[in-house]
């Protein structure tokens, strides 16, 4: 990321542990990154790697265990409740499941109006101005005006997700955490929603943290991509670079596992043994070592820091330099 771009979000040593019956679950473990205004950071990883927890912890929907989140110059983690409420005008979230994240007893207009009323943008008496604002938002996200009084159950998944996007946009935020916003949708609808999100980003200069497990979606939308494995970042770099020359063995295996939509191209799969190990009381060292085809005893001897292998491309692997050279 070049220095000329304005940093809007910086996350420093962010940790979120959950106390469970069988020990401490390290959902997010020492994550660091910065995000420039108007850009999109894609966060990828498999179920249970902590990507959703990361998004929620940044917004303080989960209280962080340790670390800092600096948004627009303010330390989010140190904000009081009052300050936090004010800050939420600028930081919003779009949830994964459009069926579960919208109140079934509220109409489309009530759902979109709610954040505006909570933040006191309109006085309760000022119905006309409020309705005008809601209608504008509905227009913006492609919801027909006739649906103003419709309830969520009357609408399909794509339209419901448009309500979720409208609700997040109503306050004109600067930053939105998008937590798998299209994974519950059919492909033809998914493309409509992705295009909508791209359009509003350009129009409003939004910054996205885009969480997904779908690598083709993330490549399509992101400037930078961060790959997570069991709560830690294993690789972060420019989106195109990641697909061109991944360095971390996990990233390589992940990319090799995506079925290529071309029957003439045979996939060069890198098989992985077993499945994710448990994030509860993790052992020191590389968390991927157990499944890694290149693992040696040194990999589990101590914690592996994220190191830069080239400008803007960091990898958490002790053999990163070696892998990088092998590709050159």
């Amino acid at each position: 990321m070049s220095a000329s771009k304005q940093t809007i979000l910086s996350v420093e040593h962010l940790k979120k542990y959950f106390q469970t019956a069988s020990g401490q679950l390290h959902a997010v473990d020492d994550v660091n990154f910065t995000l420039a205004k108007g850009e999109t950071l894609g966060v990828v990883g498999e179920s249970g790697c902590g990507k959703s927890t990361l998004g929620r912890t940044i917004l303080r929907l989960h209280e962080p265990t340790d670390g800092k989140v600096i948004f627009d110059g303010k330390d989010v983690t140190a904000c009081s409740k009052q300050e936090m409420k004010k800050l939420r005008e600028d930081m919003q979230i779009i949830f994964q499941d459009p069926f579960a994240s919208i109140n079934p007893r509220m109409t489309v207009s009530q759902t979109i109006a709610e954040p505006l009323l909570i933040q006191g943008r309109y006085k309760p008496g000022d119905k006309e101005a409020l309705n005008r604002h809601v209608r504008q938002v509905m227009d913006r996200v492609g919801l027909a005006q006739r649906l103003v009084n419709a309830y969520p159950h009357e609408l399909d998944g794509g339209r419901r997700q448009r309500i979720g996007i409208g609700r997040a946009l109503a306050l004109e935020p600067k930053f939105i955490v998008c937590d798998e916003p299209v994974s519950a949708l059919d492909v033809s609808i998914q493309a409509q929603i992705l295009n909508l999100m791209q359009d509003i980003q350009e129009e409003m200069g939004l910054t996205y943290l885009f969480i997904t497990h779908d690598l083709s979606v993330v490549k399509h939308l992101s400037n930078q991509i961060m790959v997570m494995y069991l709560g830690q970042v294993v690789e972060i770099c420019d989106a195109k670079q990641l697909f061109r020359a991944p360095v971390h063995p996990y990233t390589k295996a992940l990319l090799s596992a995506i079925p290529i939509p071309d029957p003439r191209v045979k996939m060069n799969k890198i098989p992985l043994k077993d499945e994710l190990s448990s994030p509860i009381n993790p052992k020191p060292g590389c968390r991927f070592a157990k499944r890694c085809p290149y693992a040696t005893p040194e990999c589990t001897a101590g914690d592996i820091p994220l190191c830069e292998v080239e400008p803007g491309h960091s990898v958490a692997c002790i053999k990163a330099a070696q892998f990088k050279d092998a590709m050159a």
Partner: protein, 328 residues
């Protein structure tokens, strides 16, 4: 290759409070011996209804098989005696369901669940059935020591392997796989698909693979049927579908997905929504979303047109393109 399964003009409807749902509308399809047929379509296209009707799992009421035939080796499954059909279900034709989390019995060990399938169809003792279950577990890559474990002790990928073991323990001739990896992460998806493919070859099975992932289709299927509004709109071998698709819906579907091997700035979605299955258009089912639709498309229902080499297209526009065969 001879036809092992032939579906002719299948019409299935569901009676619901909000009207009659037209799930399948004269669907015809052929599966040849040893072949993998990919069934692609979006939510509500009728994919799962089709699979369930082949298995004889359509609940009547509300379901109703209005007309049509499902011929397995020339015998109509729909008219045969229930007892005869039961001997085919699970033994000759078997199914893997979409959600591994809910398709296993939580209070029975996985070994017993596999053995149960054996004992339902073969006259063998409990001990032999258990032995067979252990062998099958190993075949799908689970160690036999785990046979006495319960489903909750397995991860999602392992559960799906158990389901595959149950489906394949009797060496069926046809396997229906309904989105077998949709609930799994990509690295696990590769393992599960490889297991299915290896067993399919080893046991010389034919397979119908239901999916919406065009990558999986490209990598595993030989023939592809695209389904929309309860009928097949395009049918061809996998290379033709990927390189020379003709139906506007198929084309739209391909344009909607972000591709890893191409850089596109903007996706081209299919405008509009899936038609309401209680109120389908009279003419072509896709006419409401098709940019080429004419008055004829809205009034007249197009038949399948053979454009040569077994490539079938349900679109009037195909009439002018190199009529390789007579209209079906």
């Amino acid at each position: 290759m001879s036809d092992i399964l032939k579906i002719e003009d299948l019409v299935i409807q569901y009676d619901t409070d909000s009207g009659c749902v037209h799930a399948l509308n004269g669907l015809s399809l052929t599966l040849r011996e040893g072949e993998t047929l990919g069934l692609v379509g979006e939510t509500g296209a009728g994919k799962t209804t089709l699979a369930r009707s082949i298995m004889g799992l359509i609940q009547c009421p509300p379901g109703k098989i209005v007309s049509g035939k499902i011929l397995y080796r020339g015998e109509d499954l729909l008219t045969m005696k229930e007892k005869h059909r039961q001997s085919i279900r699970g033994k000759e034709i078997s199914m893997i369901f979409q959600d591994p989390m809910t398709s296993l019995n939580p209070v029975t060990t996985v070994g017993d669940q596999i053995a149960e399938a054996v004992m339902a169809h073969e006259k063998i003792g409990k001990k032999q059935a258990w032995e067979k279950a252990l062998e099958m577990l190993e075949t799908v890559g689970i160690s036999r020591e785990r046979a006495s474990d319960y489903p909750h002790q397995f991860s999602g990928g392992m559960k799906q392997r158990v389901i595959i073991a149950i489906a394949l323990v009797l060496n069926p001739k046809i396997l229906l796989a309904d989105e077998p990896t949709t609930a799994l992460d990509v690295t696990i998806q590769v393992q599960v698909l490889d297991t299915i493919q290896a067993l399919r070859k080893k046991l010389d099975m034919s397979m119908i693979l239901i999916t919406h992932d065009l990558g999986i289709v490209a990598q595993t299927c030989e023939q592809v049927a695209i389904i929309y509004g309860g009928e097949v709109v395009e049918y061809a071998d996998v290379f033709t579908i990927f390189e020379n698709r003709m139906h506007p819906y198929t084309q739209g579907l391909f344009n909607s997905i972000p591709k890893l091997n191409e850089d596109v700035n903007r996706l081209v979605p299919i405008e509009g929504l899936m038609p309401d299955p209680t109120n389908l258009p009279t003419g072509c089912k896709f006419c409401t979303r098709c940019q080429h639709a004419t008055d004829r498309c809205r009034e007249e229902h197009p038949e399948m047109i053979d454009v040569g080499n077994g490539h079938l297209v349900r679109c009037f526009r195909a009439e002018n393109t190199n009529a390789g065969g007579e209209q079906k």
